[in-house]
């Protein structure tokens, strides 16, 4: 009997061990407070602003091991960084962020294309929806934050460009062909969500002009048909869709959109729980691989951060609030810890290109800082409140 007992207990222990190591490693959430999150956010702002060129163009990427700056560029990421810096000014009152974002806008204003009935940023002649959407989102955040109406007409003209790209089913073609004077009938991964978010923000700046209804049309497309129409096998966990639904006025929050919100919260929650399991060493490295690319983790962080604002105010989503807050605080904890500090940066050839950034296997890109910065900014009110509650 003892031998059989030992066999059964052995199976239980080995099974539990395998489960622990392979399926449910510890989800490590380092303690974090508002000061640490703000310092990390300011570090990221510093990286983006201090390596910005006088033209307003940002440094695209840097490989610390090879001491190599990536000289290529991506306009959608430029728009995203501008938007994130405006968010930083809105949350932290960072003048450095505002100045860098304004310079980033000036960089774009040099390449405007006036179509007559609409205007768009046309970097290098192309007229991309993604870059325009994020630039427009940034301008709308700036307008809501500062009250400065300097770009109001431009914002409405850029909004009309997005409407011209929007199709009756809510889909959004991802660029415009100037020579053919027509949208190019193709989609890209994120530009649809970026467009809907920009339109939702325009609704807040210019309420009652129909921008919110247009954003809702594209949101419904993303919730119901996009992945099938655009040839994806699984649902895209789109943080821009999360921003969109969080920005819509209550009268536009339909059951379908709230259900989609719940799905999105699940995607981000799962991604961030999985990320918290990653330590990047030993057997954990074999089973979970390296801590994820900062841009990827950051998108989930900002997505769930956006949903928090909605869940906290929408009774139908109230049951999600506690878990969302737990994920937000946990993610802020491990992303603060993963950021390069002055001390860790000092061992590399160009410490100033390392400090304040998040690297993935030796390389960091402007959107790594952008997405994590936006995620950390969304965590600040939650951490502030939990600190206050804790006394």
């Amino acid at each position: 009997m003892r031998r059989r007992l030992a066999v059964h207990l052995g199976v239980l222990l080995v099974g539990a061990g395998v489960l622990r190591v392979a399926v449910v490693p510890a989800e490590v959430c380092p303690p974090v407070d508002r000061a640490a999150v703000e310092a990390a956010a300011r570090g990221a702002i510093g990286w983006l602003a201090s390596h910005q060129q006088p033209s307003g163009r940002f440094t695209y990427g840097y490989h610390r091991g090879e001491d190599r700056i990536n000289t290529s560029y991506n306009e959608a990421r430029h728009g995203g960084v501008v938007m994130s810096l405006y968010q930083a000014h809105a949350v932290l009152g960072s003048d450095a962020a505002l100045a860098a974002a304004d310079l980033g806008v000036a960089f774009a204003l040099d390449d405007l294309f006036d179509h007559g009935d609409w205007t768009a940023w046309a970097p290098g002649g192309a007229v991309p929806v993604g870059a325009n959407s994020l630039l427009l989102a940034g301008l709308a955040i700036r307008r809501l934050d500062t009250g400065d109406p300097a770009h109001d007409e431009l914002m409405q003209a850029m909004g009309r460009f997005l409407l011209a790209q929007q199709q009756p089913d809510g889909s959004v073609f991802d660029s415009f062909d100037r020579s053919a004077d027509a949208p190019i009938p193709s989609y890209s991964l994120y530009s649809t969500g970026e467009a809907s978010w920009a339109l939702a923000l325009l609704e807040r700046v210019f309420p009652g002009e129909g921008w919110g209804e247009a954003a809702g049309l594209t949101l419904d497309y993303m919730a119901t048909r996009r992945d099938r129409v655009e040839g994806r096998l699984s649902r895209l966990p789109d943080h821009w869709a999360a921003y969109t639904v969080a920005e819509l006025p209550p009268r536009l929050l339909t059951e379908l959109r709230l259900d989609y919100t719940r799905d999105l919260a699940g995607y981000f929650g799962m991604r961030l729980r999985f990320e918290a399991q990653r330590r990047g060493d030993g057997i954990n490295l074999v089973l979970r691989w390296f801590p994820g690319p900062p841009a990827g983790v950051g998108t989930s962080a900002e997505g769930i951060g956006a949903l928090h604002r909605l869940a906290a105010s929408e009774p139908a989503l109230a049951d999600l609030v506690d878990n969302i807050e737990e994920r937000i605080v946990c993610t802020a904890g491990f992303m603060v810890r993963r950021q390069e500090t002055a001390e860790t940066a000092s061992v590399w050839p160009r410490p100033q290109m390392v400090e304040g950034a998040w690297f993935y296997r030796g390389y960091s890109q402007m959107d790594d800082q952008q997405h994590v910065l936006s995620g950390l900014l969304s965590a600040i009110p939650v951490i502030e409140r939990t600190q206050e509650e804790a006394g």
């Binding site: 059964h8 489960l19 449910v24 699940g266 994920r327």
Partner: protein, 181 residues
Amino acid sequence: MSGWLLVVAMVAAVNPFRSRVGLRADRIPIPATAVGVVVGIAAVAALAAVAASLLDVLQITPETFLIAAGLVAIIAGARTFFAPRPFDEPALEGWREGLWPIAFPRLLSPEVIALSIGLASQNGVGALVAAATGGIMVLAVLTRVRLTERRIRLLTALGAVLAMLLVVAGIWMMIEGIRDV
């Protein structure tokens, strides 16, 4: 997880039909059965009661553990489906038979342990213990039945049906664990 699915999951995890086949063929005396039932229910209740603290210590969110518990349910269900008759275990004498092999290893199987921890935070300790008790009481009734070859074949078939339901419950748990925030 709905109440009905919780009942299905816990009864399928306890799997009274398979558990009965894994005990001796004779009628089992009431004292032994009573000890097994009490210890089994108490153990499930204890696991469910400490589940939140245990997961906290292990730094695992309940949502993530639900995925692991679902995986255990799927593996256990598949094992039972392909190997529906458990190994014979030598029984202790008298009431101690309730401890071995009724309470352990028949009732406190890996799937019952995993589901008790995984589902307690979702459904509450009371509901989980009630659902498990349903399965345990069916086993208690079955211990009063003497097993013949025909009855063993019937119980084995019913055990396989519950195994399939356990797989379904496990898949459901994994999906919930993935979709939860």
